[in-house]
């Protein structure tokens, strides 16, 4: 294969323009960093969405190692109107994987920009490049014996802080709201300028990673879940490692308990008695994470019957709902807070409290405790074996942290999923005042009929939740434009006005979060 016969091209780009751009990429980056062969691009094509693989196929992938190279890539793209899809580690799986949002976009893979630029153990800050993984950071912290703790999402080891934060992902520690802990970005803009947010533009400044706001408008947020710039450095805060860490679980016996659980936890969470992003996982999430496969219990098509779920719960000693939380601090602090927590649970009259000593090495307690204490693991990948077949879409509506809201969402989601023959595999992540209700829509991509059902199901989830006033905070690339519509026309027009101003040639990830100048908004 050579570029003369490239059958996948970016939208509106001629073979000739593409060929010229590729020649310039080669001069800028070196041949080994310009990937055109099909066998080099297949690793960018493993999507989990209910579409043909061809719909998200890249025309090429390029890897850059310096900010100057990223600026050079942007310059070439402007000259030839080549759209690029930027990834850092590209490990967001059910949110779209490494594949571009539109067929033919050139993937700009920043995996080789993987330097930990600075970690300050006194101020507890970090500055990293986009290719840095959490495992790399964890190893660095261990190697240097730093009294610091990481917060990461479940793919932990292989994901990275820049990608996760830029997509406004969450973790499970007290620093679990990752964008809240971000402090200072460096971005290459579409015109090649390098913007540093916050204090980063001040000559001689050393407060870039400690003071977020700088002067004038605070711009960081508009670069997240967006396509206005390419993040080449990001600062963030690290949690001091507490002397005592006490994870625990509370197991509940009824699906209907969710409302009571949320009412019980919210005051503890807002008051920071329980300081971390608490998880409330349902039985099937627990089962999948504990390596249970659906086929071991049920082989028919369709939703798994409640009677079967009850059997799994009984066999595996799971709850219908399973709360994971932890206390952090000095021995005295943890003792006081533990007393408060146990008394509140006792008073509620339901829920089985499980401590680390009682759980021992059992899953899923072990991996949950690791996630809450900043120790990477990959245990939650077991979810992909629950049904199997490679289909996964995260449906992640937010709600107020109120029991009634969570119960309403739970009932609605289960009804829609089961109607389409799919399972409700969900968890609530308790923010300070909100809930991220994360549902893994798992299906068999080898089965065209089930794939079609999964697509219809996801559309119905979006539609019916919207009718009830709910929207997702994040979505896979196939549904980005649809979700952007939920947030209203004014927001979309503003987003597109900013895009026109900053990226008139529409070269940076057009289609990300539904922002694409070809929408003519």
């Amino acid at each position: 294969m050579n570029e003369h016969t490239n059958t996948v091209l970016p939208r509106g780009v001629t073979q000739q323009a593409f060929k010229e751009a590729v020649a310039k990429f080669r001069i800028l980056l070196g041949d080994e960093n310009v990937l055109l062969k099909d066998e080099q691009l297949v690793p960018y094509m493993k999507v989990m969405m209910p579409v043909e693989d061809a719909a998200h196929a890249p025309s090429a992938a390029v890897t850059a190692t310096t900010v100057e190279q990223v600026q050079g890539v942007v310059k070439i793209c402007n000259e030839h109107k080549i759209p690029i899809w930027t990834i850092s580690t590209g490990r967001n799986f059910g949110y779209g994987s490494a594949a571009p949002v539109q067929r033919g976009q050139v993937v700009l893979d920043l995996k080789k920009m993987n330097k930990i630029l600075h970690i300050d153990p006194e101020l507890c800050t970090a500055l990293v490049e986009p290719g840095v993984t959490y495992q790399q950071l964890y190893d660095y912290i261990q190697e240097h014996n730093l009294p610091l703790m990481l917060s990461f999402p479940a793919p932990s080891a292989i994901a990275g802080p820049v990608g996760n934060t830029m997509d406004r992902g969450v973790g499970y520690t007290p620093y679990g709201e990752h964008f809240l802990m971000q402090c200072g970005m460096e971005l290459v803009l579409a015109n090649g300028d390098v913007l540093r947010t916050g204090m980063g533009g001040v000559k001689g400044d050393n407060a870039w990673q400690v003071f977020k706001w700088g002067y004038g408008p605070t711009l960081d947020g508009m670069f997240t879940q967006a396509n206005y710039g390419i993040c080449t450095k990001m600062g963030f805060w690290l949690m001091p490692k507490p002397p005592v860490f006490k994870p625990f679980s509370i197991s509940y016996d009824s699906q209907d308990d969710i409302a009571d659980i949320v009412e019980l936890l919210r005051p503890l969470r807002i008051a920071q008695i329980i300081p971390n992003a608490v998880v409330i996982a349902n039985s099937l999430w627990e089962a999948g994470s504990a390596n249970v496969r659906r086929v071991d219990y049920y082989t028919e098509k369709g939703a798994t019957p409640d009677t079967v779920i009850d059997k799994i719960i009984k066999d595996k000693g799971l709850g219908h709902w399973n709360v994971y939380a932890a206390l952090y601090g000095t021995r005295e602090q943890v003792e006081v807070n533990w007393k408060i927590v146990t008394e509140v649970i006792k008073k509620s009259g339901k829920g089985r409290l499980i401590t680390e000593d009682q759980a021992g090495e059992t899953q899923p307690f072990k991996y949950r405790a690791q996630l809450m204490s900043g120790v990477p693991n990959l245990q939650e990948f077991g979810l992909y074996n629950w049904r199997g077949g490679g289909g996964s879409m995260w449906f992640a509506p937010v709600s107020q942290a109120r029991g009634s809201e969570c119960d309403k969402q739970r009932v609605l989601a289960k009804r829609i999923l089961n109607k389409h023959g799919l399972d409700y595999v969900g968890e609530f992540i308790v923010g300070w005042r909100d809930m991220h209700h994360v549902i893994d829509v798992l299906y068999d991509r080898t089965d065209p009929e089930e794939t079609q059902r999964a697509r219809a199901c996801f559309n119905e989830l979006l539609d019916l939740f919207e009718q009830e006033g709910y929207a997702v905070y994040r979505v896979n690339t196939e549904f980005m434009d649809r979700v952007a519509q939920t947030y209203g026309p004014v927001k979309r027009r503003v987003e597109h006005a900013i895009k026109r101003a900053l990226d008139p040639n529409n070269i940076l990830s057009p289609g990300k979060s539904g922002i694409d100048l070809n929408n003519n908004l």
Binding site: T7, D38, G389, T446
Partner: protein, 229 residues
């Protein structure tokens, strides 16, 4: 017409009788069954997730190496496994690995390969039930002919199957093959044929996958791949 092309066309003719459909792109794909301008080496390592897939897939792979021992490793989704794989792919030594693994392991293996800048000639998603097996494949020029070979061998043993192949720089239309089940025999033959096709990928082998009588039949969901650094 070479012998390989004849055998594929023969397979297609059998298939017509057994409700096989072979698209136009499939016929062109059959022109070169085993492309000599491709990988051209036997695998150094075979990754499998469990004993059942190991048995069937490995029998197919061993038929290609004609008795030469293959290094086999069980996968899981632990950090240790992924770190070891990452280390191998970054070792600087050229390595070719093929595998038939579960979905969770596959997600991690593909990501590790991408990060390492490895080439992937083949990525397949498979499911097998009593009635049939389904195969959704992404393949490349280097794996030219593998899909046809797989389809032909599955058809020859009478297992019901449905196969769809996408090529990044191939035809706009996927290559599709399907056949109704004509045999009551076990349905593990697809995994044997797959192990054979992937091990033979790019080599000038003219052998055929062995027929086996594995019991119990291999059912469930799997992902196959051929990766090379």
């Amino acid at each position: 017409m070479n012998i390989d092309r004849r055998s594929v066309l023969k397979g297609a003719a059998w298939g017509t009788l057994a409700s096989v459909s072979l698209s136009a792109s499939g016929l062109s794909l059959a022109n070169i069954l085993l492309n000599t301008d491709s990988v051209g080496r036997h695998p150094d390592l075979v990754l499998v997730s469990d004993a059942a897939s190991e048995s069937a897939f490995l029998q197919g792979a061993l038929a290609v190496t004609q008795g030469r021992a293959l290094k086999v490793q069980r996968t899981d989704f632990s950090l240790n496994f992924i770190q070891a794989l990452n280390h191998s792919l970054h070792s600087g030594k050229s390595i070719r690995l093929i595998g038939l693994v579960d979905d969770a392991s596959a997600g991690l293996i593909v990501e590790t390969a991408r990060s390492a800048g490895a080439r992937m000639q083949w990525l397949g998603q498979h499911s097998a039930s009593t009635a049939q097996s389904r195969h959704r494949l992404i393949s490349t020029q280097a794996a030219h002919g593998c899909t046809a070979l797989l389809g032909q061998q599955m058809n020859a043993c009478g297992n019901g199957f449905n196969l769809q192949e996408h090529r990044l720089h191939g035809s706009d239309f996927p290559f599709e093959l399907a056949a109704q089940q004509r045999s009551e025999k076990d349905s593990s033959q697809w995994a044997v044929a797959l192990g054979f096709a992937l091990a033979a990928l790019g080599t000038p082998s003219t052998a055929t996958a062995p027929l086996i009588a594995t019991s119990p039949p291999l059912r469930g969901h799997f992902v196959s791949f051929s990766i090379e650094t």
